[in-house]
């Protein structure tokens, strides 16, 4: 009886794990991909431009960062978690925040709009952690 109960528990846990993987692939990554292409990539680009303008990076480094951002989009589109995990999200996240900050400082967007953009970066960051931790 105990053995049967154990097997049932293992089966349920396996099914739950499979469902988690399925949700990750069918819901989480496509939503993150849309968020990246629609909003995050734009913030990252604004951050790269801000760093270039301030002389913090040179054109070569800017090119590398743009490649990383494009790679992140490709990885999210691929739906392969290990490809996303291999990329430096923390660097891109920093650039995205800096990009929003620079746009607010220039008056291109208001501070309240900036808060909404920061929250998008925060939500993406949480989902990124969720994706890698599951």
């Amino acid at each position: 009886m105990k053995k049967h109960h154990l097997l049932s528990s293992i089966l349920l846990l396996t099914l739950a794990a499979c469902a988690g993987v399925e949700a990750r692939e069918s819901i989480l990554m496509p939503t993150m991909s849309r968020a990246y292409s629609t909003l995050i990539a734009r913030h990252v680009e604004a951050g790269i431009v801000a760093q270039l303008d301030q002389g913090e990076i040179d054109a070569i480094r800017a090119g590398e960062l743009r490649d990383s951002s494009a790679a992140m989009q490709d990885a999210l589109d691929s739906g392969i978690r290990s490809e996303v995990a291999a990329l430096p999200w923390s660097d891109l996240r920093g650039l995205a925040r800096e990009g929003v900050q620079a746009r607010v400082a220039r008056g291109e967007i208001g501070p309240g709009v900036g808060m909404s953009h920061y929250e998008t970066i925060n939500q993406f960051d949480l989902r990124h952690a969720q994706l890698l931790n599951r």
Binding site: A16, R24, P30, R34, P111, V113, M115, T120, R127
Partner: protein
């Protein structure tokens, strides 16, 4: 264009409802956590009324609810809930993207 908090709130509520309706989803059936987060989004959106780039805030907040919902869907242990919330996340993410071209 003179935007009031009510106008913005209505825009956002319409956006959420339209995205959901296209997928045959009743947002009132969404889990409490999502309805609560949507209310927080609306508060943030209200703070940007009259500011430069307000339309971007509408787009961002739509995407924020989509991202939040995706997280809820992955954590949900119930298949029906996961499907419902997954559809909400997908529909809103598409809606936010459409707003970019609006």
């Amino acid at each position: 264009m003179n935007l009031s908090n009510e106008t913005v709130g209505q825009d956002f509520a319409d956006m959420l409802r339209d995205s959901a309706e296209r997928l045959g989803i009743n947002l009132e059936q969404a889990p409490e956590a999502i309805r609560r987060y949507s209310a927080e989004s609306l508060l943030r959106l209200s703070a940007s009324v009259g500011q430069a780039g307000h339309r971007e805030a509408l787009q961002a907040e739509t995407m924020n609810v989509a991202l939040f919902s995706a997280g809820v869907a992955v954590d949900s242990g119930d298949l029906a809930d996961r499907e419902l919330v997954g559809n909400i996340a997908g529909g809103l993410a598409i809606g936010a993207r459409l707003l970019a071209g609006a």
